[in-house]
């Protein structure tokens, strides 16, 4: 069950693929087939650039099963450049450096592993852009 659910979500998880509304052009993530603005059908796939900024965030100390290895970690609400808000883990950053409005970019990382013998689940996280991390 779990394996097949992860497989169906691969496209949006690996590549940040959502939808765009034919009528008003609003971009949707995750894909929901109906526009949130004008309620017109929205089936056309749209790959987001992966650029955005931190809208809000919280630190998780008591991680759910499968995520214990990386706790504590920061989960953020990221406002994508194209509009939608996405909830995702932040990576490649020390918690004290996270701030609202921080520019971030999407990377594909390990989300969790089902023990030493199960599947490894990959998906999007966000990190400070490499160029700003160096500057």
């Amino acid at each position: 069950m779990e394996v097949s659910r992860n497989w169906r979500l691969q496209e949006q998880r690996y590549k940040l693929v959502g939808e765009t509304c034919d009528s008003c052009g609003v971009k949707l993530f995750p894909p929901r087939d109906v526009c949130l603005e004008c309620e017109a059908p929205a089936y056309e796939l749209f790959t987001f650039t992966g650029l955005g900024e931190v809208f809000s965030y919280t630190t998780i100390y008591d991680a759910p099963a499968g995520f214990e290895n990386t706790a504590p970690y920061t989960v953020a609400l990221v406002k994508l450049a194209e509009g939608p808000l996405v909830t995702a883990q932040l990576t490649d950053i020390d918690q004290e450096d996270v701030h609202i409005g921080m520019p971030v970019e999407m990377v594909t990382r390990k989300l969790r592993a089902d023990g030493p013998e199960g599947m490894i689940v990959y998906g999007y996280k966000f990190r400070p852009s490499v160029e700003t991390a160096v500057a």
Partner: protein
């Protein structure tokens, strides 16, 4: 039997091919070699490099290959559906059975009309995938083929390899010479059965035959491939602007370069092991990306990998005018190396143990 010459061993496809895009990846964490020697020898004695790159807990060969592949496509600006092969060379694939390459192909949008495979040959798994990609494109079977060399290498705690075994690598997209940032004039492979380094199927860490790591292994094969390729193409070390050799430490590539007649400045930009360690399958290829980041049109490059077991693949490349418009389209190798967060030995072993569990 008639005499055998290096010219007969030169590998050159029917159609002219080259590198149409390239991309590197180095994770952000670094552990200084002194921090490791403090643990085992109280900091007494020399260390083989300054520091090595370590992958974060949510990174593995698949995630690192995806980022290097995305940088490659940002530079090449082609439709990923035109790629007919996605090949990942590594000795640290996350799964024993389930191809890393299929996940990478899915993440970059190359599926479903593509070949995908994982390659192995210790540290030269990436460059043998490059040679196969040259053949795929050079025969006309494919417009583009993607080859990746990437590793998250591990050394047994306290072993000499712990100082250097590092994480990182690069991807190279092979395509028609007319679109290339660097044309590939030919390649040459040199392989013998040599017991210098191995890891059995269920072992966590590799073993090495100490007597075999230097002269009969690294030097014999790297020199063998480099000399034969230069002879086959009628070149000498003076004909090249740049050279890059596999980098198990800082010393070996510098010594082999000297023995082949190269000056220190010819290997300087591609010599990354002092600052990131030995990235195994990634080592030679990421050295090449660092050279492409600074090369001028017309420059000639010699590239020679080495994989234990043992063998070397040598390549002769010429940089084209296209390099100048393409290189700034993605993060440079130097930028990844400068992005650096130092960790101590305690953090490093916590990372390693957690990685082994997951």
């Amino acid at each position: 039997m008639t005499e055998y010459t290096p010219k007969q061993g030169l590998m050159k496809p029917n159609l002219d091919v080259g590198i149409v895009g390239y991309g590197a990846y180095v994770p952000r964490y670094r552990i200084p070699a002194k921090e490791i020697s403090k643990m085992w020898t109280g900091g007494v004695g020399g260390v083989p490099i300054q520091e090595k790159a370590v992958n974060g807990l949510d990174e593995d060969v698949i995630t690192m290959s995806i980022e290097a592949a995305r940088n490659t496509l940002d530079r090449a600006r082609i439709d990923p559906r035109q790629i007919r092969a996605v090949w990942v060379g590594s000795e640290s694939h996350p799964y024993a059975v389930k191809p890393s390459s299929a996940t990478v192909a899915e993440a970059i949008g190359a599926v479903p009309n593509t070949q995908a495979a994982d390659w192995e040959f210790a540290c030269k798994a990436g460059t043998e995938a490059m040679q196969a990609a040259i053949a795929f494109v050079g025969s006309g079977m494919a417009q583009y083929a993607l080859s990746i060399g990437m590793d998250t290498a591990q050394g047994r705690p306290g072993d000499a390899l712990e100082y250097t075994a590092a994480a990182g690598g690069a991807a190279v997209l092979i395509g028609p010479a007319a679109e290339a940032v660097a044309v590939i004039n030919g390649s040459y492979s040199f392989v013998t059965d040599t017991p210098d380094f191995w890891r059995r199927a269920h072992a966590n860490y590799p073993s090495h035959g100490d007597r075999f790591t230097g002269e009969p292994a690294y030097f014999k094969h790297v020199m063998g491939a480099a000399e034969a390729l230069m002879e086959a193409l009628d070149r000498t070390s003076a004909d090249y602007d740049w050279a890059v050799f596999h980098q198990p430490n800082a010393k070996f590539p510098q010594r082999v370069a000297k023995q082949l007649g190269f000056k220190p400045e010819q290997i300087a930009p591609g010599l990354l092991s002092p600052r990131i360690g030995n990235t195994y399958s990634g080592s030679t290829m990421i050295g090449l990306t660092a050279i492409l980041d600074i090369a001028e049109p017309g420059d000639r490059i010699l590239m020679v990998s080495y994989g234990s077991g043992a063998g070397s693949d040598a390549f002769d490349l010429r940089v084209t005018d296209k390099i100048e418009e393409v290189r700034d389209r993605a993060t440079t190798t130097e930028t990844y190396i400068s992005r650096r967060t130092e960790i101590d030995y305690a953090t490093y072993s916590r990372f390693r143990d957690k990685l082994k569990m997951s």
